[in-house]
């Protein structure tokens, strides 16, 4: 029984390690400036985790193989432990785990402990059950006033934009996120109803949108293209299809687009949405 159990544990270990080593199921290509840094931190972590996992499982298999009860009359070793060993493995794991923990803050800190860099392009994101609204400030780069009391989904005023505010005249609200490539983007994340979460796998970025809060986040996208946006916080029955697209455009195409008034913005955005293709999965 001991040998069979050892072999079973080893096969399971091999299978689990293979699943990661083969990279058959892996991150989609990273398209943000911080994305590759997340990926390399993951690689470091998964190597530590993989080695520790394999060592523990191989060790477990080994002891159940080696120390199974045999016909011999010899008794088991009588030992209550070894303090030196306890100290060694406590210190070693503490050093490794705490080092990982500290390294694991770097990307986070670089994004979240700093305000968006100067020159960022700001977009307000307003999530609702089960769709996304992206509010562009237009040519004047000043957002028009919004007020929840003015929200009227049936009149297509999804974010409660105040038409009487002069700053609102050139604003556009669309259901696709369009961002420039290689220029920092700042998103102001809001929600109208319940908690949602903004997730683009390729961005290596996720942030909740919490009703009552306006959460500023920023990142820089490094590759043009069309990517799927998913909601990652349970928001109700149609959570699974609260989907939109992020369109990453070259700077010229982008600045052309955001200079357009709302209706033309909408039409041009739809054109571009058809022009770009999703990545091959």
């Amino acid at each position: 029984m001991g040998r069979v159990l050892a072999i079973a544990i080893w096969i399971i270990t091999l299978g689990s390690v293979w699943m990661f080593v083969s990279k058959r199921w892996w991150f989609p290509e990273a398209i943000s400036e911080h994305g590759p840094r997340v990926d390399s931190q993951f690689m470091i972590t998964i190597i530590v985790v993989g080695v520790a996992f394999a060592a523990a499982q191989i060790g477990l298999g080994w002891v159940v193989w080696k120390f199974r009860d045999t016909a011999s009359t010899a008794r088991a070793t009588y030992s209550h432990g070894n303090n030196r060993l306890e100290v060694v493995w406590t210190v070693v794991t503490a050093v490794i785990f705490i080092s990982l923990a500290i390294m694991g803050q770097k990307v986070w800190a670089s994004l979240h402990l700093h305000a968006a860099p100067p020159g960022s392009y700001t977009i307000e994101v307003v999530a609702q059950q089960f769709s996304w609204n992206f509010h562009y400030s237009g040519k004047d780069t000043v957002f028009g006033r919004t007020d929840p009391k003015l929200i009227d989904d049936s009149a297509l005023n999804y974010v409660g934009l105040d038409d009487t505010d002069p700053n609102a005249k050139d604003d556009s609200v669309v259901s696709t996120l369009v961002v420039p490539v290689n220029r920092p983007v700042e998103l102001i994340l809001k929600s109208k109803d319940v908690t949602h979460s903004f997730f683009v796998p390729q961005l290596r970025f996720k942030q909740d949108l919490v009703p009552g809060m306006a959460i500023p986040v920023h990142f820089t996208v490094t590759k043009t293209g069309k990517y799927e946006i998913a909601c990652a916080e349970l928001c109700g029955m149609n959570h699974y299809k609260m989907k939109s697209y992020m369109l990453v455009l070259p700077e010229n195409e982008f600045s052309e687009l955001i200079a357009l008034p709302q209706d033309k913005f909408q039409a041009r955005k739809d054109e571009l949405l058809n022009k770009y293709q999703l990545p091959q999965y």
Partner: protein
């Protein structure tokens, strides 16, 4: 310890009537079995729900005729609706976390064996003990009511009469907000979608009742352990199971009140118009939400996870205790590093109170707090690793007897490592950017708090069954159960990591909407097949359990050649556990293979003879706390 007080206060005569003996019993042993039966019932409900979830995910849009009959509204034509799926998610999580992982390990085995293992004749407060079970059972019944209130139109209409916030009959089997019940979704009522009326109210009430039951239990465990240890049973001579139950009780005592408070506030938001968790200016389903203003959705998350994270340890610590105990017994070796194991279990428990924020990195909480929570989270890996090393150390140089309980205990170690180690990934803020709320998380917590804990309980069941029922469970059936379950759970939850790698979000009723999830479709099907097989083999366990109760081989008083007090008394133990004899303890709990001893185990009650050294000296690493 004041023996006189014990006898006066705690000794109660054996009941004679059926009701006082088996139903409203104040005997901790009967209460323990009641908790175990409750868990065995609840886990069936939770398991069936998980199977329905797998069916829906793998074959979306399939007509399941039985579903059309049972849930004509939630599964019209037998096709499960997305809200029906989400209510399964919610109820599966709630039932499993509260009524299985919290009841069986602590209320069940803890209740039965803690008093016996420390040599007490009952819990400190037997009536309180009875109440904690019955309160918990009421909590379970209230939760089941949610299924009928939302799933059945007739029953739903009765609830709807209770008022706006009790609107029911939406065709689900309960609320759809997940077991974490984040507001505002859970606070707004039916305007936020199906299942958000009576379903949520009953869900909150159920959990609040459960909190009360657990609090009563925790008080009892702590008092009993501190005050009622028998002569010679020093703290450092207690079996590690007792340390685990003790630590778990402290966690429960400190964490459940916070959830209780949170639950009450949430209920008030729903039925009394308060705004603890609901901010102003919400616009839901086409209209502005009136009245509410100034609440904070994040407040709930803090309250919930302040409870929720310790809860993870409430689920698994007793499994760790049982595993340590069983490994030592069947390795025929003293536990390696008893003292280190005690410190580690306490360290895990206490650190568990400082890491709740790792559930909230991306919640909108301060990114600075996230960093503090993250570093603290990874440091929990240290005591966890200490435990793993010590388990391996216990098996090193052993003479392992591969009984069914031992197989499950070894399985626990394997699964605990597999599930726990990915905490190093998820605990890092920078990696949470990607992995938060993906299947990687689902993989992590199912392996470690779900399956590993359950393996601890399976080990405990096969191990203590003979003491509880006087008969052995069938070993061959036990082994079939172990092998299929062990391989099965890995086949289910390892692929979850791969789904997480491609970014698959949790709590999606359907994966067909997204191109980036395409590569994982094959895995979804694979997992379902593995889940069906693994679930089916649990029938073998149930059969073995109930069949052996009546037809199993008669058990001797100490069938496993074990050392602790439960094996010194009759099988099953008499009403006062030791038939009026106060046991006296002379040594630590794991004296196996002592050189020079007549047998390869020495019971804790065996007086220390001059020819038997009770262990190595302190200086050479004796962890069992003997004083020579």
């Amino acid at each position: 310890m004041a023996e006189a007080t014990h006898e006066e206060v705690h000794r109660h005569p054996a009941p004679t009537g059926f009701i006082r003996k088996y139903i409203f019993s104040i005997d901790h042993k009967v209460i323990g079995i009641q908790y175990i039966l409750l868990a065995l019932t609840a886990v069936l409900v939770g398991l069936v729900m998980s199977i329905l979830m797998r069916l829906n995910l793998s074959w979306p849009g399939t007509h399941w005729p039985i579903m059309a009959t049972l849930f004509p509204t939630g599964a019209p034509g037998g096709i499960m609706s997305p809200e029906f799926y989400l209510s399964l998610v919610t109820m599966h999580g709630t039932i499993m976390v509260f009524f299985v992982l919290t009841t069986a390990p602590q209320g069940g085995f803890g209740n039965y064996f803690l008093p016996i293992q420390i040599g007490a004749e009952d819990m400190a407060f037997p009536v309180l003990n009875m109440m904690s079970f019955w309160v918990t059972l009421v909590g379970f019944v209230v939760l089941l009511l949610a299924i009928f209130a939302e799933g059945n139109l007739t029953i739903g209409s009765w609830f709807s009469k209770l008022g706006e916030s009790f609107a029911a009959g939406s065709g689900t089997v309960g609320p759809i907000g997940g077991w974490t019940g984040y507001p505002p979704l859970s606070a707004l009522g039916k305007v936020a979608g199906p299942g958000q009326g009576a379903g949520v109210n009953l869900w909150i009430i159920s959990i609040a009742i459960f909190c009360v039951g657990s609090l009563l239990g925790a008080l009892n465990f702590i008092t009993t352990l501190i005050n009622m240890r028998t002569k010679g049973m020093t703290m450092m001579r207690m079996p590690l199971t007792c340390w685990a139950w003790f630590t778990t009780a402290i966690l429960a005592l400190l964490s459940f009140p916070v959830l209780l408070a949170g639950g009450i506030l949430l209920l008030l938001d729903r039925i009394a118009g308060t705004s603890f968790f609901i901010p102003g200016g919400l616009y839901v389903s086409g209209s502005l939400v009136p009245l509410h203003t100034g609440g904070s959705p994040l407040l709930w998350q803090h309250l919930f996870w302040f409870f929720g994270h310790p809860e993870v340890y409430i689920a698994i610590l007793p499994g760790m205790g049982a595993t340590s105990h069983i490994l030592s017994t069947f390795a025929r070796k003293p536990i390696f590093g008893y003292r280190a194991m005690v410190f580690a279990i306490f360290a895990i428990g206490m650190l568990g109170f400082f890491v709740w924020g790792h559930h909230m990195f991306i919640s909108g909480m301060s990114p600075y707090s996230a960093i503090a929570f993250s570093v603290l989270t990874l440091s929990i890996g240290v005591p966890s690793a200490i435990k793993t090393f010590n388990w391996l150390g216990t098996l090193w140089g052993a003479k392992i007897r591969f009984t069914t309980p031992m197989l499950f205990a070894i399985g626990f170690v394997s699964l605990f490592v597999a599930g726990g180690i990915t905490g190093l990934v998820l605990g890092q803020t920078s990696l949470d950017f990607f992995f938060h709320d993906t299947y990687f998380v689902t993989a992590h917590f199912h392996l470690v708090m779900g399956v590993a804990s359950i393996f601890g309980m399976f080990a405990a069941t096969y191990f203590w069954f003979p003491k509880m029922f006087g008969r052995m469970m069938n070993e061959s059936l036990g082994k079939v159960h172990f092998w299929v379950t062990f391989i099965g759970v890995y086949a289910i939850f390892v692929p979850f990591h791969a789904m997480g790698m491609v970014g698959m979000p949790r709590r999606y009723a359907n994966f067909g909407e997204y191109e980036f999830l395409k590569s994982a479709h094959g895995l979804v099907l694979f997992v379902t097949v593995a889940a069906l097989i693994t679930a089916a083999v649990q029938i073998v366990f149930y059969f073995n359990f109930f069949w052996s109760m009546f037809k199993g081989k008669k058990a001797s008083d100490n069938p496993w050649d074990a050392t602790t007090l439960e094996w010194t008394t009759a099988t099953p133990p008499p009403h006062d556990n030791f038939a009026g004899v106060v046991p006296e303890v002379y040594r630590g709990p794991y004296e196996f293979s002592v050189p020079g001893a007549a047998k390869d185990f020495i019971m804790q009650t065996e007086p220390e003879g001059p020819d038997i050294s009770g262990g190595l000296g302190e200086a050479s690493g004796n962890g069992n706390g003997h004083k020579h």
